[in-house]
Amino acid sequence: MTVLEVRNLQKSFGSIKAVQDISFSVHAGEVFTIIGPNGAGKTTTLEMIEGLVSPDNGVIHFGELDWNKHAVSIKKKIGVQPQSSAMFDLLTPEENLNLFASFYDHARPAEEILEIVNLTDHRKNHVKKLSGGQRQRLAIGLALISDPEIIFLDEPTTGLDPQARRNIWDIILHLKELGKTTILTTHYMEEAEKLSDRVCIVDQGNIITLDTPSALIEKLTNEREIRLSFLDGEKAAEDADGFSKELPSVSKTEREGAALKIWASKPEETLLDLFKFTKEKSYGVEQVSIREMSLEDVFIAFTGKEWRD
């Protein structure tokens, strides 16, 4: 079931085309991730959907509802954690939640939300004193107070340390268990791969590609990168380099000292041949690995650009 559909969204700020042409639909209960580098247009896209920015062009439907006629109903259906995660710094998490609860006719009790976002111990501290991760969890909590069907999280983990980031992942996975629909933006590929049912990669205001993480990776060539390093030093690596270049499934090699990288379309066969060769020559191999392809490679393959976190 489709809970949100956007078609041909466009938005410019002066001469900057923040969003050029974005269309997608989101299904009930999924985690839908919009990923892209800084300035790709993620926040602008979300803010148009959340009713904060009016699009220059395009349509936004929440099922039967749209912003022109049903603003209040939509606001009751959605929960938003904006990128700025704004809240009252001189109030406590509990007070912030209770205040936001008063805006809705049906809100969940603050204690329940504090439990979900794991802030029960800090409920009486001023928000000013919270850590970045705790603050971000409260921002998510505020988005959950109205028990919304659709939750928007704009870069909830940016700038957090790995532990704090994992805490937020747990919350998102928990929301999925509860049957909520989550629309997430991030610029961490790892996060998108781990959490999302479907991923939409955007760059410069356009969708580059949209699918499940595994389908996206499969769409890439099946070429894999094999890494080897030799105990017997440069000479062995040089020999192995010469040997692998002759193999039919190898497209390219790179050598640096005793370390060798080989790109092969049939990595298992290539490895087998390589090991036969090293055994013959009795070269000792120190490390072997096949690098998994990631969304990062998808991005590089589609844009030809380097991916930078």
């Binding site: 904060l52 920015v53 606001k75 938003v80």
Partner: protein
Amino acid sequence: MCLLHLPGRNGGINIKFNQFKMMFLAQLKLTLREKQAWFWGIFFPVILMVIFMVIFSGNSDEEFKTEVAVVDPSPNPASEMMLSQISELPVFEVKSGKPVTRDKAEEWVKNQKVDAAIILPESAEASSVILVVNKENEQGAAAQAVSGILNKFVQQANLLAAGAAPKYNLQYESITSGTNELDYTDFLLTGMIALSIAQGGMFGMVDMVEMRRKGLIKRLRMTPANMGIFGLSDMVMRLLFSIVQIILLSLIGVLVFGANLYINPLTLIIVFLIGALSFNSLGYFFSSFSKTTEAYMGVANICSFLMMFLSGVFFPIETMPEWIQPISAVLPLTYFADGLRESMVYETGLATASLWAGIAVMVIWGAVTFLLGSVLYKRKAIAADR
């Protein structure tokens, strides 16, 4: 955005009341926890008032006390009578308590040991009194005061000598002609109250800039929260804060400095509400075009400084240079301070034309700045407002 648009979009009366209650409680907590609000809203006006009161009022007799030397070259009935009267005048302190020689007196004047030397007439017929002051501070306040007082004194003496009833006396004329006497303490107290409420409005709206900068206003708009109720709760909070200011400053003025208040409650309530609202409008207007708190504070500081000195807060407008007075005549603080004086010191009733003229000026300022602010906010209006 429109701060005051009326509730009526969603939810029943109950949820609206609950929203108001929660928003008001939040505002109350935010104000109580904000140290800046305490400093600028309470501590600063109190300190400022105490400083001004201590320097400029309190015992005005002592303030104008000036030391003089008296020379009585050849004692005669007229000079004796004058001498006894001069030593009784509270403003003059006669150095060494008795007449000295002319040389001695002139030496004291030269060394600035005394502000002036008074040389009494040599005979009952020669009615000239000579005043000797130091050339260097001929224009100084003390010299002017002595000569002014002495002048009147001599006139009185002359009249006495002529056997007529004294027409002049040495009392100061009061500053305005109200029914109740306005002394400087009352004047300053009411001025300070007006100033603190005005500043509360002009500076207080920095919260709006801060909330916008942090994205809080945007955040609230993502919820079905009624922004009209939010504006209302904010306003009620500000008015309460101003009432605390009035009460606190009045208590200090009356209990510590002996101010005399004769309050007409109805006039006070109206002047207070109109004044507070119009200065809040002014702040709202500043906030509509200030992108940062620094920019806002810059504008608010300039306006508050200009008004502070041009609106008769510390000194009556009549004491300022003529060319400045037309500026004072258009500033809202002038009328707010006046209105508070009318309602807190003169007990003026509502049926007073000049009072309503002042209220009209404040209403115009409030309405114009509020409308301008609303227009500027609306220009940045967003889809969620539809």
